[in-house]
């Protein structure tokens, strides 16, 4: 089954930098991953690790200045989105790739009725649809995402909906143009657990029904475990580990990933140990990172080589990639240390 998967979105060595007074923030620093048709890919990481910026870069929604996509490619169906002129980009945004944002309270316009906002979205992308038809389609979409009495509720204003309902409206809008890729940026962080379960169920159902590929950004390892086929773990602007979900949870290769998984209190363990495993220290400041493993100050398996050179990517097993010196041979490590020393002497 794995063989006949077609990639729909390929991100290659994406780099997004922000210029600030304190220096250049390398928010996304060489990120590559592939999303296949109908697949759900999770991106996990702590705040400030570049999860959201990665996905805003895919849609080219980075405010510029101060931000700039300085390198890499985003291939949608083989076409590089980063090279397209603005007018062609609008064809893809919303039409082929759409996005759900974290905060359902602020991502709808409070002055406009839901109907106005939904009809606008549909008619912007499909010029030949008239108002009546667009309205019909909006009602249909609202029914699909489980809004009761959609015919009446479509003329409400956003404030008349609760948080969970607003997130449903967002999903309905995002899918009203039959997008092939749905980017969900922390879609349930602002919601309660029972509502979160409803929304995740809905996204899963829609992904199955329409064959939509989903990129799910989250910091909740439990959500990832339930939803995603593949997971990328990000740290300081880089993907440090990438694997299928089962593989990642069973054999986490990077010390950061295993630390993250162990530091979450779990409900199902019977003999809970009183002390949680914790990753000491703070996430690094991404301004002017030295060329070494960004995780080494917090890592419990640090070696000399971690302090002087960036770890390359290793394949631990098939489709399981990790950026960590633990998987390098002795000669490689020795060579990297020697190179770094030479560099310093210069």
């Amino acid at each position: 089954m794995k063989d006949n998967k077609q990639p729909i979105l390929e991100i290659k060595d994406l780099q997004t930098h922000f210029k600030t007074d304190a220096g250049v923030v390398k928010a996304v620093n060489g990120v590559s991953f592939t999303v296949n048709k109908g697949e759900t890919v999770g991106i996990v990481g702590e705040s400030g690790c570049g999860k959201s910026v990665t996905n805003l870069s895919i849609m080219r929604l980075i405010p510029s200045p101060p931000g700039k996509i300085v390198g890499g490619e985003v291939l949608f169906d083989g076409e590089n989105i980063l090279d397209l002129p603005e007018s062609e980009l609008r064809e893809i945004r919303g039409n082929k790739i759409s996005m759900i944002f974290q905060d359902p309270m602020t991502s709808l316009n409070p002055f406009l009725k839901i109907s106005t906002q939904m009809i606008e979205t549909i008619r912007l992308h499909e010029k030949d649809v008239d108002k009546q038809e667009a309205r019909k389609r909006s009602i249909e979409m609202l029914k699909k995402v489980g809004i009761p009495a959609a015919e009446a509720r479509i003329d409400s204003y956003p404030h008349q909906f609760s948080g969970g309902m607003r997130q449903r409206v967002m999903i309905a809008m995002a899918l009203s143009c039959n997008a092939q890729v749905l980017i969900a940026d922390e879609p349930t962080t602002a919601l309660d657990v029972t509502i979160q379960a409803q929304i995740l169920e809905l996204i899963q159902q829609i992904s199955k029904d329409f064959g939509t590929a989903v990129i799910l950004i989250t910091h909740d390892l439990g959500v990832v475990a339930g939803m995603c086929d593949k997971v990328c773990v990000m740290y300081a602007g880089k993907i440090v580990e990438e694997a299928y979900t089962y593989e990642l949870y069973n054999n986490p290769a990077h010390p950061y990933t295993s630390g993250l998984i162990q530091s979450v209190p779990r409900m199902d363990t019977q003999n809970k140990q009183k002390k949680l495993f914790s990753i000491e220290g703070q996430p690094p400041n991404v301004i002017d990172l030295p060329p070494c493993c960004p995780f080494h100050p917090r890592c419990h398996k640090t070696m000399d080589v971690c302090r002087c050179a960036l770890p390359p990517t290793y394949e631990v097993s098939e489709d399981h990639k990790v950026n960590c010196w633990l998987y390098a041979s002795e000669e490689e490590k020795a060579k990297a240390v020697a190179d770094a020393a030479k560099e310093n002497d210069k």
């Binding site: 657990v193 029972t194 409803q198 475990a225 993250l260 530091s263 809970k272 914790s278």
Partner: protein, 359 residues
């Protein structure tokens, strides 16, 4: 074992209603948000009572009412024999020495214009000035105390002249904890202290709170919406829904045998970070949203979303049933009588009869 421990805090039928006013000239009161609507529980010395529930269920209001940050509408909060709701200003100030709070948002709960030293020493300085401490402290002693507190919560004491914006979220939460510890309180009310933090930092703070509890014999009332965090830290857990406690039990008991349909749904909805378990679980997906707490409802507050609803529930408010083993639940399923066969008309008739009797 828990029987031997002293009861530190008793909350009896606590109600906190916020009036809804029309505004304008007349400013008539047209209703009330019943944020906390008649809750009772006890807290024993040295234990951790966890409170869980969805947003808007009254968790934060409960602890704020206990600390008398809001004056409760009715009910009693008895701390070591003193009823805080009726206490005079001076008694209250003394009691507050023993009741301290840690807040959710480490960005908003620290004054950005104060240095860390003045934030942590403020409670000491205030109580010292009024002569309410055991003995009068000199400036130097306060300084030493601040340094000791900073080291205890894992902050470098060299940072005491810095401002809050120079610290990260986890460090700020440590400052908040140091401030709460300054007066050597007996009970700490922690209002979602870890929900604004990243996973790796969250573990650090939870471990710190656990260590402090053991060392200083502290009692916690700990609020969180994350069920796994609550299980990790609590000895007893209260589940709240719409201003009422629907279930109260020992932590292990609650997680192994949840009795109330709402607790069962909550537990099944919380994700577990293990793909094999997570994908095989049966989820109870609740429909609908939490209703607004501005009306008195004739029946069980949860009945509109309950998967085990009976006609009886729509018009009878469930009392609290004791399942033994300190496990209390407010649900008609656990009464001795079986209500499932009673039809809607009969239930309604019974409710009407009760109403007229009361009149």
């Amino acid at each position: 074992m828990s029987n031997e421990k002293k009861t530190l805090l008793v909350v009896k039928d606590l109600k906190q209603h916020f009036p809804i006013k029309t505004g304008g000239l007349l400013n008539k009161k047209i209703g009330a948000i019943r944020a906390v609507d008649g809750i009772s529980f006890e807290v024993k010395e040295g234990e951790t009572l966890g409170i869980v529930g969805e947003s808007g269920c009254g968790k934060s209001t409960t602890v704020r009412s206990i600390a008398q940050l809001y004056r409760p509408t009715s009910g009693d909060v008895i701390f070591e024999g003193l009823n805080l709701c009726e206490a005079k200003e001076k008694e209250l100030v003394l009691a507050r020495r023993n009741i301290q709070m840690i807040f959710q948002d480490p960005y908003a709960s620290l004054d950005p214009r104060m240095t860390v030293r003045s934030i942590i020493s403020e409670p000491l300085v205030v109580f010292n000035k009024r002569g309410l401490l055991d003995k009068k402290l000199t400036k130097l002693e306060i300084e030493e105390e601040v340094e000791r507190l900073m080291e205890r919560v894992g902050l470098n004491k060299a940072f005491k002249n810095r401002y809050p914006h120079e610290f990260s979220g986890g460090q700020r939460q440590r400052i908040g904890i140091a401030r709460a510890l300054a007066l050597n309180p007996r009970i700490i009310l922690a209002d979602e202290p870890v929900s604004a933090l990243d996973v790796s930092i969250q573990a650090q703070i939870l471990n710190l709170l656990n260590e402090l509890q053991k060392e200083l014999n502290l009692t916690y009332i700990f609020i969180a919406h994350d069920l796994a965090v609550i299980q990790h830290i609590s000895t007893r857990v209260a589940v709240m829904y719409l201003g009422k406690i629907v279930e109260l039990a020992d932590s292990a008991d609650l997680y192994d045998n949840p009795a109330h349909p709402y607790t069962q749904a909550l537990l099944s909805a919380a994700p577990i970070p293990d793909p094999e378990i997570e994908r095989k679980r049966q989820r109870i997906i609740l429909t609908g949203d939490v209703p607004s707490p501005d009306k008195i409802q004739p029946g069980c507050y949860f009945q509109a979303r309950c998967p085990k609803r009976m006609p009886w529930c729509t018009c009878h408010v469930p009392p609290t049933f004791d399942l033994g083993n300190n496990h209390k639940v407010a649900c008609w399923l656990y009464d001795e009588k079986d209500y499932s066969k009673i039809s809607k008309e009969e239930a309604q008739a019974d409710a009407d009869k009760n109403k007229t009797e009361v009149k």
